[in-house]
Amino acid sequence: MTRFSWFNATALTLGFAFLYLPMIILVVYSFNASQLVTVWAGFSTRWYGEVLRNEEFLNAAWVTLKVAVISSSIATVLGTMAAYVLVRAGRFSGRTLFSGMIYAPLVMPEVITGLSLLLLFIGIGLDRGVLTIVLAHTTFSMCYVSVVVSSRLISFDQSLEEAALDLGCSPFEAFRLVTLPIIAPAVISGWLLAFTLSLDDLVIASFTTGPSATTLPIKIFSAVRLGVSPEINALSTIMIAIVTVGVITASLVTKQAAVRQARDEQLAERPL
């Protein structure tokens, strides 16, 4: 046990204030009755109603959701495949190059990724819209999925797959019946990661979008340029709430599984 000290308490307070003060202000002002963002005029939920009646916001939310679901699903499939091959292929010449190339987009400035995708889409004459955003999001979120999945695959006991082959599975059956169920948690968290990345991406989406498809981040950004409205505050608060609930649920589920596992193992150690 560390003792309570004034230094610790101050450091903790400052740290958390730095992280969460902006968000708290945003949440508080979303309940402001006044039209003016910075003047407190009493508690009201009126802006939440406004948001839900705003056709444009709802459309943008729908586009964002659609893009996020589709792109993260494709990215999960591709990323898992890439991770599987890179981990399983063993040593071949150029392996380091290949895995480096998978991870490079992680550190590539988004502006460059966005710009190069835009050039590609213009080059092949693809009309910009939902499809191009989906493709762009798949491209960059795939690397995140493959990082998450490959870290799980590295610790995966390969003899499990060999056992499946030994018992009569074809290589694909072995993957479907043994590998996939075991690495499923990593695949799901990869999907969730890709989904959130797609939800809040602004830069790449604005490069690759067309007039027909406006995502929520683009919508908020362009609305803010005309002045911050309490409506935006309300919308942002809703997004914070959704993310918070999601994160807490995910961690609770994970923790419960871990606790159950630990209990089962204790049970197994006991003489029967």
């Binding site: 056992a163 499946a164 030994d166 018992l167 019946l177 043994v178 197994a268």
Partner: protein, 449 residues
Amino acid sequence: MAQTVFAPWDDPNEKPLIQFKNVTKRFGEFIAIDDLTQDIYSKEFFALLGPSGCGKTTMMRILAGFETPTEGQILISGQDMSHVPPNKRAVNMMFQSYALFPHLSVWDNIAFGLKREGKDKDTIAARVEEMLRLTRLDRFAKRKPHQISGGQRQRVALARSLAKAPKLLLLDEPLGALDKKLRQDTQFELMDIQEKTGTTFVIVTHDQEEAMTVASRVAVMDEGKIVQVATPDEIYEAPNSIYVADFIGDVNLIEGRAEARMSPATPRDQIEPTTTPDPEGAPPPPAKPDAPQPNAYGEWLQNTLLFPFLGKRAPNPKELPAPSETKPTPALQSPVKTGGIALHWADGHPPIVVANGDPQLAGAAVTLALRPEKLNIAKNKPDTPNALPGTVIDIGYLGNLSTYHVQLDNGPMVKVQVTNVRRIARRDITWEDAVWVSFSETSGVVLKG
């Protein structure tokens, strides 16, 4: 009641189940298996024994189909299997880590292979129940692998690999993860199951005790080659090389130069009275068959018919060492066997008599391999063809056995193992004592090099 000895390898008409034909496996520069040819017969319990990196696991993985040989052929029932994938082979493997599917119950783990065969539900259920009974796992069918103990997991792995009734079962260090007591029980269980199912087992292990216990034949491997293949007793009592002698069990190695024994040349006459350790000289001369000794029939003749004329044959005039000193020696000293070689092992000592040595080795540098339990230790010089003086350096008490480390005068350190027959430990030999280490003329094995 006489059971025929199981030895298909001695029967020229028997067809081997597995044939390795000049198999070589390279991983880059590294040669894991080096031009290996070996037959394994149906219903054998064949053990591949060797230190890590000797190629035993690679051999097994080639059998399972996870590796393809770089050169050579591997045949199962006469069929070339070199390029048949593992899922198309009637071979199953039990993995060292057990490789149980963590997301499936014990029941589903055992049923896994059967389901892949597309058998109908009832057949699968019946077979799984049978396997559960065989491995005494009935109570745990519904549990997941992480909900059972290590020994139970080992049995699930065995049941799963046996469920498809393979022609050949491969076991990769199957008992490595179990503690000693459980391992010993499981060894006998394995032998029992092997007998019940009639499956051919090939087991890979680095534990020589395990290999000796379970196997019908043991192959000792080193650097990608099989050094010796033989039954456990032959491997132990008649190793063909220093490597095998040293790898299997404990052994004393005495180096020296061989000389062919000229049978009639050295008379065996001075041996009788020496019962105290001689400080210098007067070494026991190399024994040889001497003036005719009566055989049992001759002795009977004298004692029953001729004694009125000749008197009863005197009891063996030689003074026997105290019973606590050596294992009881028969009252009638059997003559020292002729032939073999004499081993010059140290200056100032008479050569060691090895009646079973190959006289062809005369003049060569050889090593005598002696198992510690075949040696005797005594304070007084015993009347055996081979008695070497030395000093006790260390005594290890193991409960059932005691091991004496004896530094031979001018010679190497040897280990002598004595069974503690009596409950009270023998106290008369202790540290720094001058002792005689003795052994018969056929106790050791002479090896080249």
